[in-house]
């Protein structure tokens, strides 16, 4: 797999089709890091194995990267979804990038046409059917079961017995789904107490924001101080405001790559919030983000005459 990728990358650079390959390379201590390959000789730095799951799409919007010229990006299914969503939001246009698509079965496909990529993503299994996401450097889930008083029957509580940040404790879509389901079944007060206790840990480091490919705003609302809508210090109210705002801004857009959770240094399972928002959107409007249909529709900003609600007529 790695060999095939390196060959492909070398060819792209040799043909001067792209100026840069965004891919995975070896970091320190068995960790994987992003590498930015700019010459054919450097392509041997590229690796591709089961540890390579971080969402590289986040680099596509960075000005520093864009300044290097046209990139090709190594894209697992979750990254492909992010790219499609970025195209829907007019952040990427055809010709801006080349996508080296890596499917779950290891098939490598090149996409220079983002519409083709959209069709490809649509043809794949639905969002929740993806392979385990973001397992690299994954952590023990800080268990909501413990705070809600439920005992250790849940999958994450067994995971929590293992040492933090061990690669052997991945979180999978199935596990996440189960956690969302369990959280949703709790009474509102308990749910609120759970999240408040989670948010209490938040340092406001904004690593979640930095890791998210869809948090591409050059000035985040939280940095807007005229007026200061969200308070800056890491106190309970400010933390709550930040996390609620983040989840709301990703409603109907989040492609569930899990990068935010992986980035969080204090293990707040904040990806569950956006996952729940996604479920709500799908339930209410039947839409899924990261999928480009004929005419992409973002349900929160569109109106259909046959809408079941009539309060805004």
């Amino acid at each position: 797999m790695t060999e095939q990728l390196q060959q492909q990358a070398r060819k792209l650079l040799d043909d001067q089709e792209v100026n840069l390959i965004i891919g995975y390379g070896e970091g320190s201590a068995r960790a994987v890091r992003a590498v930015f390959v700019r010459s054919p000789e450097e392509t041997e730095k590229l690796i591709l194995d089961e540890r390579c799951t971080a969402n590289l799409a986040v680099y596509l919007n960075k000005k520093e990267i864009r300044a290097l010229g046209k990139p090709a990006i190594v894209a697992r299914p979750s990254v492909q979804r992010s790219i499609v969503q970025l195209a829907v939001e007019n952040q990427l246009a055809n010709g801006d990038i080349t996508v080296i698509g890596i499917d779950d079965d290891g098939t490598l496909t090149l996409f220079s046409d983002l519409d083709k990529l959209g069709e490809h993503v649509l043809a794949q299994a639905p969002l929740r059917g993806d392979s385990p996401i973001a397992s690299s450097g994954s952590r023990s889930a800080s268990s909501e079961a413990s705070s809600s008083g439920e005992a250790s029957s849940s999958p994450e509580s067994s995971a929590s017995t293992e040492s933090p940040h061990s690669p052997e404790s991945p979180h999978s879509p199935e596990m996440d789904e189960e956690r969302v389901r369990k959280l949703s079944s709790l009474p509102m007060e308990e749910r609120f107490a759970f999240w408040m206790s989670e948010f209490a840990e938040c340092l406001k480091c904004y690593a979640c924001r930095a890791a998210c490919p869809l948090c591409y705003c050059e000035r985040c609302t939280v940095d807007c101080n005229q007026p200061q809508w969200v308070s800056v210090p890491a106190h309970p109210l400010g933390n709550l405001e930040w996390h609620v705002m983040r989840a709301m801004h990703l409603a109907g857009r989040c492609t569930e790559c899990g990068a935010c959770y992986d980035a969080c240094p204090v293990d707040i399972p904040l990806h569950l919030l956006t996952q729940k928002m996604h479920d709500n959107m799908e339930e209410a409007f039947g839409t899924s983000s990261g999928e480009k249909k004929d005419k992409p529709v973002f349900p929160l900003n569109s109106f259909r005459p046959d809408d079941k609600e009539d309060f805004f007529r």
């Binding site: 007019n90 952040q91 591409y216 007026p227 973002f298 900003n301």
Partner: protein, 664 residues
């Protein structure tokens, strides 16, 4: 430090009845930044306005807060007063002490405290107000009238006579609307067609009116003074420039038994037809759904007979684009059909008809040449029962409103019937007789007293057939709810007036609001009855609510007056500058807008455009959203949607709103 003036109005006793205006003025004088604070009995009066103007000049005020009624009532008044005194009018704000405080609370200290809070909030806002300049936009002085019934005809003629070009669009093959279907009109019993058809001809011949019949509005984009209309001219199957209206084709058409829409199904028409002899324009239409040539691919008799060779089977719909300055919507109404009523036979009995069908029976040009013959067997009806309020004023049937015209036309129907069948029996079941209007009650009394129509106060519970005759079961509530049973040859239901089909879709195309019954909503029920909430779009006639001919004509003339007044202004149109603006920041950011354009489809007015920010050498730096200030209505939807808070609403900026909240 700001120099803000506060002016508290007593509004007679409307505010001072429950709010201690003196205390409000006194305490508000102590708010930091306030230099002047007074109260007065009527701030909107001439001396009241003088108080404001003098205070602005003497105290060099840089902001004004007026605590009085709703801004809808007097914002213009007070802003103009401020402008007269040299203050930018948009530095003047109104606190609604009447609707938001004095009217809704008891007299108490707490009520006064709330009034003070309302003022304090606005003081904080005004401190952050920016002087704004009105927006000027060019204007196309051409009107679009949608619907060619009597309201649309009147509006078109009035605007055209004022010297402005008009495009009149009518969905049916001829203009005239429901009024052309009526036999006689109340309260004078003059013939409907006799008074209408001259107007129809006038429309056709008017040099300022362009008439598109058999056409519908496809889309309307833009804003007041600058609309772009696309009109779909449906394929008539006729070359209009060649057709002389001789009518030979309609006599030769082999398909003859199609229920005539104009005769409400009581008569028949051919596949190529003119809806009625006085139709304007007098050009036939090929009904493609029933035409033998269109169904089977051969026939073409009409094409063979046509002396000018005007038949065009392959004609296609044509899209006409036009620039428009103002729109009058006059799409009219419809009536419920008999099949709406299970208790009256679900439309099963041919001799249970609607009031509109009775009009055709009574009309001299109708299917029975004006004789009251029942549809089932053509027998002259010896006994007729009229049922008023069929569906109207009945919450259980979903129409709690009064259809307004039925009392009068039912009296007219009964009278016409008695005039035609002297020995016949006419019975009217009614709930109340609502005959408000000039000569209206006299008209009803005449039906009862001179023509001896039997009025029964009560509702009809059931109509059924027995031995070939209809039996109407009801109660007479004036005679101790005694059950009444009447055998009738014909039953006429005064069915509820309802919104015309397609009203909802049209409202959405036009971006005008509509009520729960799909009638279009006026901007203010009393003071703005012909305006809609969308600037430049006006209402006329029964598309707003059921109304009779005099009322429709008055409203049409009113709407035409509004359009003429709009067109009579200077070349440019002035608009309030409360519009959304996408921000600009210093390089290298240039704007915090990331160009995701999720606001684009959120905007109900299609006001979001794309703008390219380019460097000095012409390189594209960024593509960002831009608000077309002519289209923007200042609703703020984009402001709420924008994740990076890159859009702000002039006069209602994020900072102003935040300051207001913080002041609470």
């Amino acid at each position: 430090m700001s120099r803000i003036g506060i002016f508290i109005c007593h509004c007679g006793e409307n505010i001072s009845g429950t709010v201690d205006c003196g205390r409000v003025a006194g305490e508000c004088g102590n708010i930091p930044g306030v230099t002047h604070s007074v109260d007065y009995k009527y701030m909107c009066s001439d001396p009241g306005q003088t108080i404001i103007k003098e205070a602005i000049r003497e105290n060099r005020l840089d902001g004004v807060v007026i605590g009085s009624c709703s801004p809808r009532m007097h914002e213009k008044t007070f802003r103009k007063a401020c402008a007269d005194a040299g203050l930018n009018p948009f530095l003047c704000e109104m606190a609604n002490l009447r609707e938001h405080c004095s009217w809704v609370h008891e007299k108490s200290d707490a009520t006064t405290d709330k009034a003070i809070s309302l003022i304090r909030i606005l003081v904080e806002k005004v401190k952050r107000n920016q002087p704004l300049q009105p927006i000027r936009v060019p204007m196309t002085k051409r009107a679009l009238v949608i619907g060619g019934g009597i309201a649309g005809i009147q509006a078109s003629l009035d605007i055209a006579n004022a010297g402005h070009p008009v495009i009149l669009v009518e969905r049916e093959p001829s203009i005239g609307g429901h009024m052309a279907q009526l036999s006689e009109t109340f309260p004078t019993l003059d013939c409907s067609q006799c008074i209408l058809t001259p107007r129809m001809v006038e429309v056709a011949q008017h040099p300022n009116i362009t008439l598109y019949t058999y056409s519908e509005l496809e889309s309307l984009e833009g804003f007041v003074g600058n609309f772009k209309a696309r009109i779909r001219k449906k394929a008539r199957g006729i070359d209009e420039s060649l057709c002389t209206g001789c009518g030979l084709c309609t006599t030769k058409c082999p398909t003859k038994k199609i229920p005539s829409e104009f005769n409400t199904g009581l008569g028949q028409r051919p596949g190529i037809f003119v809806p009625f002899p006085q139709a304007v324009p007098n050009i036939p239409v090929i009904d493609q759904e029933n035409c033998r040539y269109h169904l089977k691919g051969k026939c073409g008799l009409c094409a063979k007979i046509c002396p000018t060779g005007a038949i065009r089977f392959d004609q296609e719909d044509e899209i006409i684009e036009a620039e428009i300055g103002a729109v009058v919507v006059a799409t009219g109404f419809d009536v419920l059909k008999t099949d709406f009523f299970p208790e009256y036979g679900y439309g099963r009995y041919p001799d249970v008809i609607t009031g509109l069908q009775f009009e055709r029976l009574a009309s001299a040009s109708g299917p029975t040449m004006g004789e009251i013959r029942r549809p089932s067997d053509g027998k002259i009806a010896e006994s007729v029962v009229f049922v008023a309020c069929a569906g109207s004023r009945d919450a259980a049937k979903g129409k709690p409103y009064c259809s307004k015209i039925c009392c009068m036309y039912t009296a007219k129907h009964a009278m016409l019937y008695k005039h035609k069948v002297h020995h016949g029996q006419a019975h009217v079941f009614y709930m109340d007789i609502r005959a408000g209007g000039k000569m209206y009650d006299e008209f009803v009394r005449r039906a009862i007293e001179e023509d001896h129509v039997n009025y029964l106060r009560g509702r009809v519970s059931k109509i059924y057939e027995e031995d070939g005759q209809l039996v109407v079961k009801g109660a007479d509530t004036l005679l101790d709810h005694r059950p009444v049973e009447i055998k009738a040859d014909l039953v006429v239901l005064a069915t509820a007036g309802v919104a015309n089909n397609g009203a909802e879709e049209l409202a959405q195309k036009l971006h005008v609001s509509y009520d729960a019954y799909n009638f279009f909503a006026e901007a203010h029920p009393k003071l703005m009855p012909v305006e809609t909430n969308t600037a430049g779009i006006f209402l006329a006639g029964a598309c707003q609510s059921p109304k009779d001919i005099p009322e429709s004509v008055s409203q049409a003339s009113g709407a035409a007056g509004k359009v003429s007044a709009l067109f009579g202004q200077r070349k440019e149109l002035e608009r309030d500058p409360m519009v959304a603006v996408v921000n600009r920041t210093a390089p290298p950011l240039f704007s915090t807008c990331m160009g995701c354009f999720l606001c684009e489809s959120a905007c109900p007015y299609h006001a979001i455009e794309k703008e390219e920010i380019r460097g000095r050498n012409g390189d594209l730096i960024k593509t960002v959203a831009k608000v077309n200030e002519g289209l923007c209505q200042g609703c703020g939807t984009c402001v709420a949607l924008c994740k990076s808070k890159s859009i702000d609403l002039m006069g209602y900026s994020n900072q102003q709103m935040y300051a207001e909240i913080k002041a609470l």
